[in-house]
């Protein structure tokens, strides 16, 4: 238990640093911005109480906001994402008790379900974030391209990070 908590604290710090130092400065073709830090929310155990998921999501969003001067945009989007995480997972994988480990991963959910889960989460998050961000400067086409390209980029980077970490764990075993 203590080990998992520690692992999540380290993951949280690493993800925040990676987002603010590296990924915030990437902007492919002026549209695609990877929002990779949602990996932390994605990886929280399914058995965790929703209140805790909401708290962690809110704090994560707020941390990113403080670093990137976005004043509550990420905090709001993360909180909504934290609430919608479980229904999304249930949509693709109705029987939670059949998971081998409570953490969503390739192994516990199967490749296709996990890919669908990650893609839906990144699409929802990018849609939420860019919608909140452009509330004042509305431009539907630009917003749509931003959401589509950013969620695709986020999805690809999250899958890449995931395959890196799992491979390392398998080698250790």
């Amino acid at each position: 238990m203590a080990k998992t908590v520690l692992q999540f604290v380290i993951l949280y710090v690493l993800m925040v640093l990676a987002q603010v130092i590296v990924f915030n400065h990437i902007c492919l073709f002026g549209y695609a911005v990877p929002l990779v830090f949602i990996y932390v929310i994605l990886k929280l155990p399914v058995t965790m109480h929703v209140n805790w998921v909401l708290t962690i999501s809110f704090l994560l969003g707020l941390t990113i906001d403080i670093f990137s001067d976005t004043q509550g945009m990420n905090a709001l989007a993360c909180t909504i994402l934290g609430l919608s995480r479980k229904p999304i997972l249930r949509l693709y994988f109705p029987r939670e008790d059949e998971m081998s480990t409570p953490q969503p991963s390739f192994r516990s959910l199967g490749v296709s379900v996990y890919l669908k889960y990650v893609f839906s989460i990144s699409l929802i998050y990018c849609a939420l974030f860019f919608f909140i961000e452009t509330l004042s400067l509305f431009n539907p086409l630009r917003l749509f391209i931003k959401i589509a390209s950013s969620s695709l980029l986020t999805f690809i980077i999250i899958i890449a990070i995931d395959s890196l970490t799992t491979r390392r764990r398998e080698k250790r075993l």
Binding site: I21, C27, V33, L54, D65, D69, L76, I132
Partner: protein, 287 residues
């Protein structure tokens, strides 16, 4: 009472959710950028510390470009200096006594050199963090320039770091004019291209051609008159027929900002002092 507690526990998720949503909305819709606290921005000690560390590594990447730009500017300044010296000599010869007092009034501005440690260009509202703060003499509402042109204005000041409102932020309007013309308008970024801003509210009788330089008007206390801002690229369709809107290619390359100069001016303080004094006396007159 028991029922109430049961109800609260049963629906606690919704209460927690609503609470967090309300808190984030408070942050989100607090529109005034001057009211943010220093700990909630990138000028805070911890956040700026992280950016400072990463800047220490990444600042080496664009040294070459900065160096080239500095040399170009240096050459231009040297040319200008030689020209100035020649003119000054001419004047000195003519009116020796008068020129002695002129040279004193030429120096009301002083520069504080700072490094950019965090910067964004692709958000709708962009901010910049620099590694100088109140201990180095930086105060809110000071103007910031780099070797090419205007960068932004100081917004929140911490002890050792401060946050600037970038020129690429629709909250920041800069009073500008087309060089060689006294009509002025206000320059604002439209949130699209980080290399282009709009010069709005320019009177209709203003004469301009594409390629003209846009400079600061000096009507705000932050920037002295005549700092180059951009080049006129063309005109834009306007809603109001009485004014022009021009598209301006910015001279500052915001994707490669590294060293900037904060303008600490003695005039700005005195101008502001006069303005507040007159405002106060107006209010007193009303009463």
């Amino acid at each position: 009472m028991r029922n109430l507690i049961d109800f609260l526990v049963k629906h606690s998720t919704w209460f927690v959710f609503a609470f967090y949503v309300i808190v984030s909305c408070i942050f989100l819709f607090d529109k005034n950028p001057y009211q943010h606290h220093v700990y909630m921005t990138s000028a805070g000690k911890l956040t700026a510390g992280v950016y400072d560390l990463s800047h220490n590594i990444t600042s080496y990447f664009n040294l070459r470009e900065t160096n080239e730009e500095l040399q170009v500017q240096n050459a231009r300044l040297e040319e200008e200096l030689l020209g100035m010296k020649a003119t000054l000599q001419l004047y000195q010869e003519r009116y020796y006594a008068d020129t002695m007092t002129v040279s004193e009034t030429l120096r009301p501005y002083r520069f504080i050199i700072a490094s950019v440690i965090n910067n964004s260009i692709h958000k709708p509202y962009n901010y910049i963090t620099i590694n100088k703060g109140s201990r180095d003499g930086i105060r809110p509402e000071m103007g910031v320039v780099d070797q090419n042109g205007i960068v932004g204005v100081v917004n929140i000041v911490g002890d050792n770091y401060s946050r600037l409102i970038s020129l690429l932020n629709p909250n920041f309007r800069l009073s500008c004019k087309v060089k060689g013309n006294d009509a002025f308008g206000s320059l604002v970024w439209d949130g699209k291209d980080p290399g282009v801003a709009l010069l709005e509210e320019l009177p209709r009788h203003t004469i301009y051609t594409t390629g003209d330089t846009v400079v600061t008007s000096g009507y705000s206390a932050m920037f002295p008159e005549g700092i180059p801002v951009g080049i006129v690229a063309g005109s834009e369709k306007t809603i109001d027929d009485n004014f022009f809107t021009l598209r301006v290619n910015l001279l500052t390359d915001f994707s490669r900002l590294s060293t900037v100069r904060v303008i600490a001016s003695d005039i700005a303080d005195s101008i502001r002092q006069v303005e507040t004094d007159t405002n106060e006396s107006k209010q007193q007159n009303k009463q």
